[in-house]
Symmetry: C2
Subunit: 196 residues, 2 copies
DNA sequence: ACTCGTTCTTGAACTAGATTAAGTTTTTTC
DNA sequence: GAAAAAACTTAATCTAGTTCAAGAACGAGT
């Protein structure tokens, strides 16, 4: 019988990267907490220290920055089975430049900096898990830089909607435009062109 | 007396992030090897598996991708005290999309995938070190995406040369242009404008 | 079902940066 | 130290994407 139904997606995710015994699940369950939040909930605010790390079970988060001209630039989305935090702020416990906010009603798992350190002390194997996770995220972001430099906005949109067709439906278009690095007006034009 | 003079910069670097006893240095010294290479040496080639991870003691590496139109797009530079590898290829042992090449005569420390796994087994604390390193690199690359989206080429160049004034002298301008995401011609114009 | 706020669309005028091509300067090599 | 190769500059033309402005469609709450 499973004592930690909410943790299941995370445990499965961890086991894709490192072995995890049943005893090791105990401290995990003690230190990580489920949290259900409505759309638009702000989890971490620019200017404040980011104290928590979030694992998305279901839903969607965005990490964005306030630009000089008063807009919001979306740097990252997190959907099912992604960890999200401001790594810099979280690790150094310095004020964050980013804001993390829900873009849909979402089911999360949350762990604080303090509890994560305790967890890593108790289950050192997880250092490896988190290393492998970040390595993937880093690789992905380098590839993203390559695409930003070498593809037109239209090509990036095409590729993105081929890779995440359902996702394009889920978030407002102006957020997609922000993430892809162009204006909502331009996205509108791209879509108009494709319709015929 | 120091038995491992070449490892000193790495050991100092590691100790900024995690404690490291003298006994733990022994496996480190046994598995990591110094390597001195001339300018333009190719360390890892697109299409082949990237078997090694490089720590730059002195010099400079670049990681780039061959674009469809036959150019080279520089994704990352590595200078003193940076690790460089194609994380995706190295970790999955799948063919790499990137090429890693020296841009100056360089002094490196090299470790193979196999030896790294052995090292991590012997000194598990290093999992944490490598995690913290990649987290920083990941944060930096997200911030870079923000700058690419929200600053003009000229602003990016200005900021880059303020942050790394010596570095701008060291590498050819067309590489800088490639890294910053515009053409060498445009960089030329920026510089002409600044001269007066 | 109506309303208010949010999101999406369209078009005209504009600009940062690309492209092409030729010429110049600097560096490397024999 | 001459010749070849690599790196940098300049200028004219062109285009992907921005900005601004105004209107249309959608959606959630009462």
């Amino acid at each position: 019988m499973d004592m930690t139904p909410q943790l299941t997606p995370l445990i499965q995710h961890i086991r894709k990267f490192v072995p995890l015994t049943d005893e090791e699940i105990t401290p995990l369950a003690a230190l990580i907490h489920p949290k259900t939040i409505p759309n638009k909930t702000i989890l971490s605010r620019a200017g404040e220290v980011c104290h928590e790390k979030y694992f998305v079970i279901k839903g969607c988060l965005r990490l964005f920055i306030h630009t000089d001209d008063g807009n919001e630039q979306i740097i990252q989305f997190a959907i099912d089975n992604w960890w999200m935090t401001d790594y810099m702020s979280f690790e150094m416990q310095k004020p964050s430049t980013f804001t993390i906010q829900a873009v849909e009603p979402s089911q999360l798992l949350v762990i604080t900096k303090m509890d994560l350190e305790e967890l890593l002390a108790k289950v050192p194997r997880l250092e490896r898990y988190f290393r492998l996770i970040v390595e993937r995220a880093y690789s992905a972001s380098l590839t993203r830089i390559h695409f930003i430099y070498n593809q037109s906005g239209e090509e990036r949109y095409g590729q993105f909607s081929r890779m995440f067709p359902e996702f394009v439906q889920r978030v407002p278009q102006y957020m997609l435009a922000s993430y892809l690095g162009f204006t909502p007006e331009f996205l509108s034009k791209i879509r108009a062109k494709r319709k015929d």
